[in-house]
């Protein structure tokens, strides 16, 4: 049932393979756990349809590291916890027509944002000096190499840094929700949101 519109596009794409280019999708994981990417892959055999339907650009899925063309849909996993995340997110905004926050981390910081409200100094101290699992760092060395991303004062939801067009809640969002959303975005149909698939956990 869900597959109907997609197969229709797929078929029409096949027919007009030469004339119509596939929508381009990029994905990234900022301060996330890759669980949302896993969920994207969790659409089972529909993945084959997906690969035929869209083309992946910058994404861990195909290991393309930089944008090589204009992208239609950018999927963002994870919130924004450091300066590199900010940079990546901004470049996604620049290259993608549509940006989607995928998962609780992207939407509201998610579990990494549990540190929000605690001063960042305390977090660093706990992680590198005071925490119970810190044993080897006898000299109390702090990560201060210029090559490292700089830590932000808190973990920001993506839409507080750049404009985000759509939000797919869940931790991770159900595979069906991601699938439905992609289909809707590609076909331009309104997104279906069955009760069981929109959940925050």
């Amino acid at each position: 049932m869900i597959r109907n519109p997609l197969e229709a596009i797929l078929n029409s794409n096949k027919r007009e393979e030469k004339t119509m280019s596939k929508p381009v999708v990029a994905t990234t994981s900022l301060a996330g756990c890759f669980g949302c990417h896993m969920s994207l892959l969790d659409i089972d055999e529909r993945i084959l349809t997906l690969i035929e339907l869209v083309e992946f650009n910058k994404s861990p899925v195909d290991d393309i590291k930089t944008f090589t063309k204009a992208v239609d849909i950018g999927l963002i996993e994870g919130g924004v916890c450091n300066s590199e995340n900010v940079e990546v997110l901004k470049s996604f905004r620049k290259h993608c027509k549509i940006l989607v926050s995928v998962g609780e981390c992207a939407i509201m910081g998610g579990l990494p944002a549990l540190r929000n409200g605690i001063p960042v100094e305390e977090c660093l101290h706990e992680a590198y000096i005071g925490g119970p699992t810190v044993q080897l760092n006898k000299d109390g060395i702090m990560p201060n190499d210029d090559e490292l991303p700089m830590l932000l004062d808190k973990v920001y939801p993506c839409h507080e840094i750049v404009k985000i067009d759509y939000f797919l809640p869940g931790c991770p969002p159900r595979a069906d929700l991601i699938w439905d959303a992609l289909v809707a975005l590609v076909t331009g149909d309104p997104m279906k949101l069955p009760y069981e698939v929109v959940k925050f956990d």
Partner: protein
């Protein structure tokens, strides 16, 4: 200490409804309410400690930590700032050696901010151990702090002459000025107190009194404007073993101070009005609920009541009318604007947190302790006396068709002669500004923060229930003022601090809107923000009481009438900015790990 608490509890008959009084007495005698005091109180009253604390923690003037031998409460209303509050604050901090919110290490001096203390016509002003010091200057502050350090009795700190009017009286001895600048039927000196009780009531039935009040078409002077006659009638008809008369002297709306002046100059008129109301509704007990900021009037008001009892104007069979018994007690608040809301006031009277009640039922049906109760403003009671004296018909010749009688305005801000002015309803703003000597006016805040901010193109409007309705607060802002930064934010923060917190809307939306306003003020605003503010403000309409329902007004009304001020702050080249600032957000972590932030924008 335990003994002190015991005595205090006994003084109020171990009655939980008098918890406010007990807490006030403990706070005053000990300078704070200690853990031990809470433990003793809770034991004696058979409440949990946390339950005592839930009342205690609601009120600004109660504290579980010592507030200092001298506790200084400096008003933080916009008008205080306009008259030099920054310099006063600095002088206090410098000479005392602590910051606001702290107490000196020797426990002597505590400095605290406090919301408008009803002295807008003589700012900057502070309350120190219940004594009001007005028109402060840095020199005076240094002198005051010096004397506090020398442990001088509070009376000795007083160097100014007493204020005008009755402020010199031995039981008041106050530096506060009444600043009456225009008199009408209430503030005039041509009424002989007691005339109505003595001469009129014997000729009038309770229904007759209500009839006159109804005929006069007077509406409540506290702001909401409910027809007073109807209220009294509903209450008289409501079934209950007892009926109560409550006078609302909470006067918490920033910029209002006329009730202070009425209670200083004409307290007998107010009490007579309450007795009159008691007669009308069939009630024998009256309570004056008055804000703690006016604690300095306690002895004076008690003395007036005492005198009235002696003269037979309070007590039993008043004016020889069989069964007309009435007496009044005074209940102080403890620093909570919302307690001016009538049902919150009742909760506070019952010794609880000042959380407004759900309505219906209304207080006239179920009020104090569940009994039918009328609650009226100070000015309403005072006016009622003149109405009954001269008849409802006489009263209607003053004011306009829909707003009869006079209104006492509290006028402050950028003008030559701040003070109280009693005018007929129907007065227009332009005339008012000329009356008080206000030139180069940018805006007038009508009715306090919960009212409206109007600009010159609306100065032709008139004061009245159908046009500019007001409880009487008029704050004038000159051209030199920054309305958004110095007024609107201040008012929003006032509501944030004063919300009782019960409603999800009022507790949170004020904060959300103020954050957005501050973002705009920080130069991070975009056009969409103004749309958001306007829409988000509507959510507050779903709040339980007037505080929440009007809490967006500072933003909404300035946005409506002073939109260019907002627009000038917006970023023209951006349509998205949620206020994120990369450089600021990495500062703390970089300095902690010892690295210099580098921003290489590839």
């Amino acid at each position: 200490m335990e003994n002190t608490v015991k005595q205090i509890v006994e003084k109020y008959n171990t009655n939980r409804n008098r918890l406010m009084d007990m807490l006030i007495d403990i706070q005053e005698s000990e300078g704070y309410i200690s853990r031990d005091a809470i433990a003793t109180l809770s034991q004696l009253l058979e409440m949990s400690q946390a339950d005592v604390e839930q009342t205690l923690s609601f009120y600004h003037f109660f504290s579980t930590k010592p507030r200092g031998k001298y506790a200084v409460y400096l008003n933080n209303s916009p008008v205080a700032y306009m008259f030099g509050r920054e310099a006063i604050k600095e002088a206090f901090e410098k000479s005392a050696g602590v910051r606001f919110g702290e107490v000196t290490s020797d426990g002597k001096i505590g400095l605290f901010d406090t919301a408008c203390i009803g002295m807008n016509d003589q700012e900057p002003a502070a309350i120190i151990n219940n004594m009001v010091f007005t028109r402060l200057t840095p020199y005076r502050v240094r002198e005051l702090v010096k004397m506090m350090k020398e442990d001088k009795p509070i009376e000795e700190l007083r160097k100014e002459s007493f204020g005008d009017g009755k402020n010199y009286l031995p039981s008041l001895r106050s530096m506060v000025s009444s600043n009456i600048r225009r008199k009408g039927m209430i503030l005039s000196d041509d009424y002989h107190f007691g005339t109505v009780l003595r001469e009129k009531l014997p000729t009038l039935s309770p229904e007759g009194v209500i009839g006159e009040i109804k005929h006069s078409a007077i509406r409540g002077r506290g702001g909401a404007g409910f027809p007073t006659g109807l209220k009294w009638e509903f209450c008289r008809r409501a079934k209950g073993d007892k009926h109560y008369v409550v006078c609302n002297a909470d006067e918490g709306e920033p910029g209002t101070f006329k009730d202070r002046v009425i209670l200083t100059e004409k307290p007998e008129l107010v009490f007579e009005g309450m007795a009159l109301a008691g007669y009308a509704i069939g009630g024998e007990e009256g309570i004056l609920y008055i804000r703690y900021e006016y604690r300095y009037m306690k002895d004076y008001l008690e003395e007036v009541l005492h005198k009235m009892r002696k003269e037979g104007l309070l007590g039993t069979n008043i004016s020889g009318i069989e069964g007309f018994n009435f007496d009044i007690r005074i209940q102080f608040g403890a620093g909570a604007y919302v307690c001016g809301e009538e049902s919150a006031l009742l909760e506070s009277l019952e010794g609880k947190r000042g959380e407004p009640r759900d309505k219906p039922p209304f207080p006239v049906e179920r009020g104090y302790l569940g009994y039918p109760t009328i609650i009226n403003n100070v000015e309403t009671f005072a006016t009622a006396v003149r109405i009954v004296q001269n008849g409802g018909e006489w009263f209607t010749q003053f004011g306009t068709d829909d707003s009869t009688g006079t209104k006492i305005l509290s006028i402050s801000g950028d003008c030559m002669f701040p003070g109280v002015y009693e005018v007929n309803w129907g007065f227009n703003v332009e005339d008012m500004l000329d009356m008080v000597g206000a030139y180069d006016v940018q805006a007038v805040q009508v009715g306090g923060p919960s009212g409206t901010l109007i600009g010159p193109d609306e100065f032709h409007r008139t004061l009245g229930y159908s046009d500019l309705s007001t409880g009487g607060s008029m704050i004038i802002f000159g051209k030199q003022r920054n309305l958004l930064r110095d007024v609107v934010v201040n008012f929003m923060e006032f509501f944030i601090d004063e919300s009782c917190g019960s409603c999800s809307t009022c507790r949170n939306m004020t904060q959300v809107m103020n954050n957005k306003l501050k973002k705009i003020l920080a130069g991070k605003g975009v056009a969409n923000d103004l749309k958001d503010l306007k829409e988000w403000g509507r959510v507050l309409n779903a709040s339980r009481c007037g505080l929440g329902q009007t809490a967006a007004n500072p933003i909404i009304s300035s946005l409506k009438n002073f939109r260019p001020l907002y627009e000038a702050l917006l970023q023209k080249d951006k349509d998205f900015d949620e206020g994120f600032d990369l450089e600021k957000s990495v500062q703390a972590s970089c300095s902690y790990v010892g690295r210099v932030p580098v921003f290489n924008h590839h």
